[in-house]
Amino acid sequence: MLALLIVGSFALLTLTYRGSTGLQSGVSTVFSPVQSVSDRALKPARDLVDWFDETFDARGENSRLASELAVVRGKAVAGQEALQENAQMRKLLALDGSPALAYSAYEPVTGRVIARSPTVWRSSVTIDLGSGDGVRVDDPVISGDGLVGRISSAGPGSSQVMLLTDHASSISAKVVPPGVQGVVKPEVGNPEDLILDFIDSTREVHGGQDVVTAGWRAQGLESLFPPGLPIGEVTKAPIVEQEASQRVDVRPYADLRNLDFVQVLTGGSRG
């Protein structure tokens, strides 16, 4: 019996890597209403535990946020000026590739997070939106703060979101203002830290700069993510010498550990 179960486990593993997810999709669809109900029922209990946890963190967080707010105020003023200038320049040049326009090609659909993976090795959440809501595999997923991840599988009534912190996640991004490009990858086990890798080492990157999706398009291929979606902020940029590329640490804007609602950007130019 034990041998049968072990063989069964390996057979299931093989089945997965051969790309068969029909059974999982069926089970997930059947149980997604139950998960949705249990999610809502358990929300007060979750909030209570979160309250205790957040109280511990609140003191340190307060001083950090106060200093961040001062910096962000300065950025916001500068950003407003830049937006006005940008709008005028775009009118003049009749460009249609602005982040705002690219974003408008997508139709955001708001969904609720109903389950989360229990292990640190996988970082995914289940949402109550499915293909019936227009959600498709690889659609970008955002929260109010920034990019969260992308749809890894979509059933009729629920979908799985691969978060930025999943080890299989990899996103082309750029640091603004200099526009240096790289690839954002996670550091497994640390949800507060991402790594922006493969940056040209001759370009200077420093802490406090924003990291957004690059949204490239070349030779008929294009990034899964529209350009300009905020990902995070550079926290540490070590000085490298005699290396072809450098890597910097990025703190994600989205609180990936406490997601209740997310938006799936459906449609887009891939539609």
Binding site: M1, L2, L5, I6, G8, S9, F10, A11, L12, L13, T14, L15, T16, Y17, L23, Q24, S25, V27, S28, F31, V34, Q35, S38, D39, L42, R46, V49, D50, D53, F56, V113, I114, A115, R116, S117, P118, T119, V120, W121, R122, S124, T126, S152, S153, G155, Q160, H167, A168, S169, S170, K185, P186, E187, V188, G189, N190, D193, I195, R257, N258
Partner: protein
């Protein structure tokens, strides 16, 4: 354990409830930045009460159900949890449980083993990103949480499966003292 259709239904209900609680509640709350994982502890309790085969089968089934709900690679959770359930059952078959601390300690130890097992399987299958040392903190704290959650889970599962347990110690009634004290 005497497995009747009714008991089988109860085991399935316990498994379903445990998985839903894990995915909708425990995975989404954090204490010291780490979420508790009750599934290894639940499987340990099944093994401790039902023996190695019951532990292995419930571990396999719970793992399969979790992987189906999360649409993740099938077989990984099943493999790890079946090992945990089997080991817990083996312990019950080889040793007497004298202390009430034993279930909690076993939950802690086998949760540690399960988390290490998940890590080992994932690393064997290939992890395309650097691994933070914070994984160690996650694994250790999950084990500590399993110690505290293990005992209530054990009591709950034992209560639910009481009619099926063959080695349940009988409640001894105290003799009423007689006039002569004999």
């Amino acid at each position: 354990m005497i497995v009747t259709p009714r008991i089988l239904l109860r085991i399935a209900a316990i498994g379903l409830l445990g998985v839903l609680l894990q995915l909708s509640f425990f995975s989404r709350v954090e204490l010291l930045h780490v979420s508790p994982d009750i599934l290894p502890a639940l499987v340990v309790c099944m093994g401790l009460l039902g023996g190695s085969m019951a532990g292995a089968v419930s571990g396999f089934a719970i793992g399969f159900f979790v992987d189906c709900l999360l649409v993740e690679a099938l077989g990984i959770t099943s493999l790890v949890l079946l090992a945990v359930g089997y080991l817990a059952g083996l312990f019950r078959e080889r040793f007497e449980i004298h202390s009430s601390l034993v279930p909690a300690l076993l939950c802690m130890g086998l949760t540690l083993l399960a988390e290490l097992g998940f890590g080992a399987v994932e690393l064997l299958l290939g992890v395309d990103a650097p691994v933070s040392v914070l994984v160690v903190r996650d694994i250790l704290l999950k084990s500590v949480y399993a110690f505290f959650l293990g005992w209530p889970i054990y009591l709950g599962v034992r209560r639910a499966l009481r009619p099926a347990l063959v080695e349940e110690p009988k409640v001894r009634r105290r003799r009423q003292p007689t006039v002569l004290g004999v």
